[in-house]
């Protein structure tokens, strides 16, 4: 009788230990899954923060670039207006001027041609010369494209 009770207690003990062991194993497995999930979440948050930071930087860069291009387009308009003004200022007629002062106009036209060619070179990416960079006076600038050729030049008001 006593032997049977011992047997039952032993079986119960073994079953209890086995159950506890399995439960611990399940807990450890759950813990591992939760840790992996947490790690994934933390990684996702870091990634999201990185993406948000990059988006902010990109947005600023796009705004800056748009601003620069708008300034450039406005400069183009002004350059074309200035060119028209040079031909038509005070009812100027360069045809008549060329008849009256052929030599002088020829020199002006040729100088203008050289300046315009230099503007095209600069627009295509040529390096500025020191003289072009330092020019601040009206007499020193390239009047065909001052904004492009002479970045230090501030037009007189």
């Amino acid at each position: 009788m006593f032997g049977q009770i011992k047997m039952v207690i032993t079986i119960l003990l073994i079953a209890g230990i086995a159950g506890a062991g399995m439960y611990v194993m399940k807990l450890r497995s759950d813990n591992a899954i939760l840790k992996a999930n947490q790690h994934k979440l933390e990684t996702a948050i870091t990634e999201q923060n990185k993406v948000l930071k990059q988006q902010k930087e990109d947005f600023t860069a796009i705004l800056e670039s748009n601003k620069k291009l708008n300034v450039l387009i406005n400069t183009f308009k002004k350059d074309l207006q200035d060119l028209d003004k040079r031909f038509t200022k005070k009812n100027r007629d360069i045809g008549k001027l060329a008849i009256d002062r052929t030599g002088a106009i020829e020199r002006i036209i040729n100088k203008g041609g050289v300046n315009a060619a230099r503007c095209i070179e600069l627009a295509s990416g040529a390096e500025h010369t020191d003289a072009e960079l330092k020019a601040t006076l009206k007499s020193e600038i390239n009047p065909e494209c001052p904004a492009l050729a002479n970045p230090s030049y501030v037009p007189y008001q």
């Binding site: 032993t10 813990n31 796009i62 350059d79 074309l80 360069i94 095209i120 627009a123 990416g125 065909e144």
Partner: protein, 120 residues
């Protein structure tokens, strides 16, 4: 019999907990970001234009101009534009130059945005 049971119980405990000795292995997740290769074209070479000479010819100086050309060994022929067409030509060239500048600028901006120097 009692000792056998004890040994059996102990063996069972070791067997059941053996897998977790030393703690569970940590899961390591690697994410390696491989950026797209840069196109990295160099900027277009700047133009180097040749100089050309404009000659103004009027009804009064025409003979003199042609005589000078002949004396210099140049064919006495000129390709002409009127004063109005000269203005048109100037405007056209100014527009071509602006378009060139705009395109070059756009290229620089795209390069700066998509292929910045410091980013790898």
């Amino acid at each position: 019999m009692y000792h056998i049971n004890k040994i059996f119980a102990l063996a069972l405990i070791v067997l059941l907990t053996g897998c977790s000795i030393g703690g569970e292995k940590k899961i390591k997740i690697f994410s390696v970001e491989k950026p797209r290769e840069k196109l990295d074209y160099p900027m277009p070479t700047a133009l180097q234009l040749e100089e050309l000479k404009w000659i103004i010819i009027t009804s009064e100086n025409a003979q003199e101009v042609f005589a000078k050309l002949e004396a210099a060994g140049i064919d006495p022929v000129l390709f002409g534009v009127t004063d109005k067409d000269y203005q048109v030509l100037s405007r056209n060239f100014a527009q071509i130059r602006q378009k060139l500048q705009e395109t070059n600028n756009l290229l620089k901006e795209y390069k700066k945005y998509y292929e910045p120097e410091d980013k790898e």
